[in-house]
Symmetry: C2
Subunit: 428 residues, 2 copies
């Protein structure tokens, strides 16, 4: 552990130093939210994060995505798009002494699309402040978390201290679709003794998550003039509905027996037909329909197992229909194909962070599970215990997503004290 | 009726003169099929038709679509797109004498999209000849019909004759979505004693057709992270399936009692969910889903009546669901909203054309009905009896659409003799 003046910093000194950075954090957050960092457009956000890390006093580096290296790794998820112009932005807060435990602080800069811009009270990529809330797509998931990481380090550095082992800050891409950004950091960069991802999990420490599979089902029909639809056509849109019903049965099966810690959820395994596109003319029987599904799985279930069950369900539905039996739908994988995990309850990073939280916030932060995936799995897979903790957000992936500014400050304070508790600090 | 040398032309003289134009017709058809005249891209086809009409010896004129004039006419269908750069191309074959009956020969240059290009044996907009068949999107519906009209007039003109009343040739746009192209010709141009539309109805004369309504149903959901789909989300894609089922019940009702002449069809009223689009991310509960439906109606039923039944069916389905009851789907009309019709069986244009057909082809061409709409309704609505007759096509709106070259020649021959029989001919 650390020694010298740094180690003696109190919670109050640290939290005050971080609080002094709140105005800066809000400014960075607003600039980040203004960057519409959906898939393929992440770079505008990385430019903001690069500057923010410089403002923290670190020297940011680029970690470019390497498609071949990613595809060669069994922990990657499949992707059909070009990643050659995508970078993670990382920076090392160099240790000022030996003897501490190293740490990765990770967040993602990419966001999901707005779902329906016209349903938002204000444009999703124009940050809007209303009291403690800052609205915008990605404000909570997880730009405020990224900013809290930067604010924590900036606050600590303002106290003239350094950690007793390297603290690696990572702003990654593609958390929302593959996790390949975080994976690239691990392929290219240093390991650490633990990782905290500042996902919007505000009052608990997330130590367990599901796996996720994205499966795209392509249904082909027999197009014809709508005038003879019933006699000559086979409608791929209608057929896609039948496939969805079959997959709903698989979802029901998967929720029937819920292993711990997922027994606490009424419905831990969610199937989501998230995107549908079919047909090309109202008066033509639809020749094609593609539905993109997201399906969760429990830790211990492999993506390949679940993919096989998806394919079996699709095949059984197709077999029940003469046309589909002859023209079976295709299941494609593009995006998430990843396993879940559950950390042991005595995992030091979780125990230490829970302790930090108790001392800073004054309440308990129980260890918890999430029915979503996060990049934490990559770290765990490589032997780096990883937990999620961050600001309070609402409506992530929804309409009028928002994050609490106070919770962002609080998360930054907890993270800063945690750096002291985990890594140790020394005077710089 | 006409007089002089022209009137004495035999079927054999006329059909031989038209047959001499077949090579020219095939060339024009191939150039037309090469023009991908889907909605918004019709102009490339009109350029071909303009030249073809010049080749026929006529002086083509432009009839520009006038959005305000169209919208003011109760026979128009609603449209949300810009039509200001769209033209019909028309030409008048001037009468050489008085006393005949005038005629409009009408065809549309627009085509529906390819449904699924990758399912075609060859690219849909590259005409491919295989024996008597010419393949391509729109080859049958109805570029070969347009060409047959031009070939008929060219063949007759090669014999040095003129009609005894004006023959108006029309190459129109937007038959496949609104019919507003043909309507504009009627708003801007001359009436006539009859109209023949060279739609692909090869061995019968079509004197009855259904009406068609395009209804677009916009469903709004409650987006959420897929991880909490069942607890917090409401999926618009799933809801759209439920709406489709309700509309299928309306379709079933409408097919239960089939007025003549539609009693001959097993299933005259076809509902078609032709296009679907919903959601924007696999891991986000779909916020929106829009389905574009095509629904037929019997002659005598008004589009407003049917629209009201569609809205009632959608509303009833919505009322059964708490979320949709609060957030009712919206029904929009954009495209076809038109009535059907049935001509009297003794309508002179039908009787005369049937007689012409019998003498040229040697078999009977019964009067028939179609479960589709065509631009014929516009003429009938304005008191111009209109029938459909044209080349033999297969797979219209389908994959590997094709037209018989021999049938195109035959249709041109029938049309040419019909001009003699209907208008009368005189030496030019």
């Amino acid at each position: 552990m650390g020694s010298g003046r740094g180690a003696a910093l109190s919670e109050a000194e640290i939290t005050a130093a971080v609080a002094a950075e709140t105005e800066w954090m809000v400014d960075v957050l607003q600039r980040l939210v203004s960057a519409p960092t959906v898939l393929g457009a992440e770079e505008a956000g990385q430019v903001v994060m690069e500057q923010a890390l410089r403002d923290v006093g670190l020297a940011p580096r680029d970690v470019w995505l390497d498609a071949d290296a990613l595809r060669a790794d069994p922990g990657s998820s499949p992707f059909s798009w070009d990643v050659s112009a995508k970078r993670n932005v990382v920076a090392t807060w160099e240790a000022g002494a030996d003897g501490g435990r190293s740490l990765i602080l990770n967040g993602h800069v990419d966001v999901v699309p707005p779902a329906a811009s016209e349903l938002w009270a204000s444009p999703p990529f124009e940050p809007r402040r209303d009291g403690d809330w800052l609205y915008g797509r990605g404000a909570g998931d997880m730009k405020a978390g990224l900013v809290a990481i930067a604010g924590a380090v900036r606050g600590l550095r303002s106290l003239g201290v350094a950690p007793c082992a390297n603290v690696e800050v990572q702003s990654v891409v593609e958390e929302e679709c593959t996790g390949n950004g975080a994976l690239q950091c691990l392929l290219s960069g240093p390991a650490a003794d633990a990782c905290v991802l500042a996902e919007p999990h505000p009052d608990h420490i997330t130590t367990s998550q599901v796996g996720v599979l994205w499966a795209h089902v392509d249904v082909v029909g027999r197009p014809a003039h709508a005038a003879v639809a019933s006699a000559s056509g086979f409608n791929a849109i209608d057929a896609a509905s039948a496939i969805s019903l079959a997959l709903r049965e698989l979802e029901t099966e998967m929720n029937a027996v819920k292993p711990p810690p997922f027994h606490q959820f009424a419905h831990p395994i969610n199937l989501n037909p998230g995107v549908i596109q079919g047909g090309d003319w109202a008066s033509t029987v639809a020749a094609r329909c593609t539905v993109s599904y997201r399906l969760a799985m429990y830790p211990g279930q492999s993506p390949s197992q679940i993919a096989a069950r998806v394919e079996a369900a699709v095949a059984a539905a197709a077999a029940a229909n003469p046309f589909l039996a002859e023209n079976p739908p295709r299941v494609r994988y593009d995006g998430f194909r990843c396993e879940g995990f559950t950390l042991a309850p005595d995992e030091p990073v979780a125990v230490t962070l829970a302790d930090t939280y108790r001392r800073v916030v004054g309440t308990e932060a129980p260890l918890s599970a999430t029915t979503a995936t996060t990049d934490a799995r990559h770290f765990v897979r490589r032997g780096i215990p990883a937990v999620c903790f961050g600001p309070l957000a609402e409506q992530i992936h929804g309409i009028d997503e928002r994050v609490s500014i106070a919770s962002m400050e609080r998360a930054a304070q907890v993270l800063a004290v945690f750096v002291r508790d985990w890594c140790g600090l020394v005077s710089d």
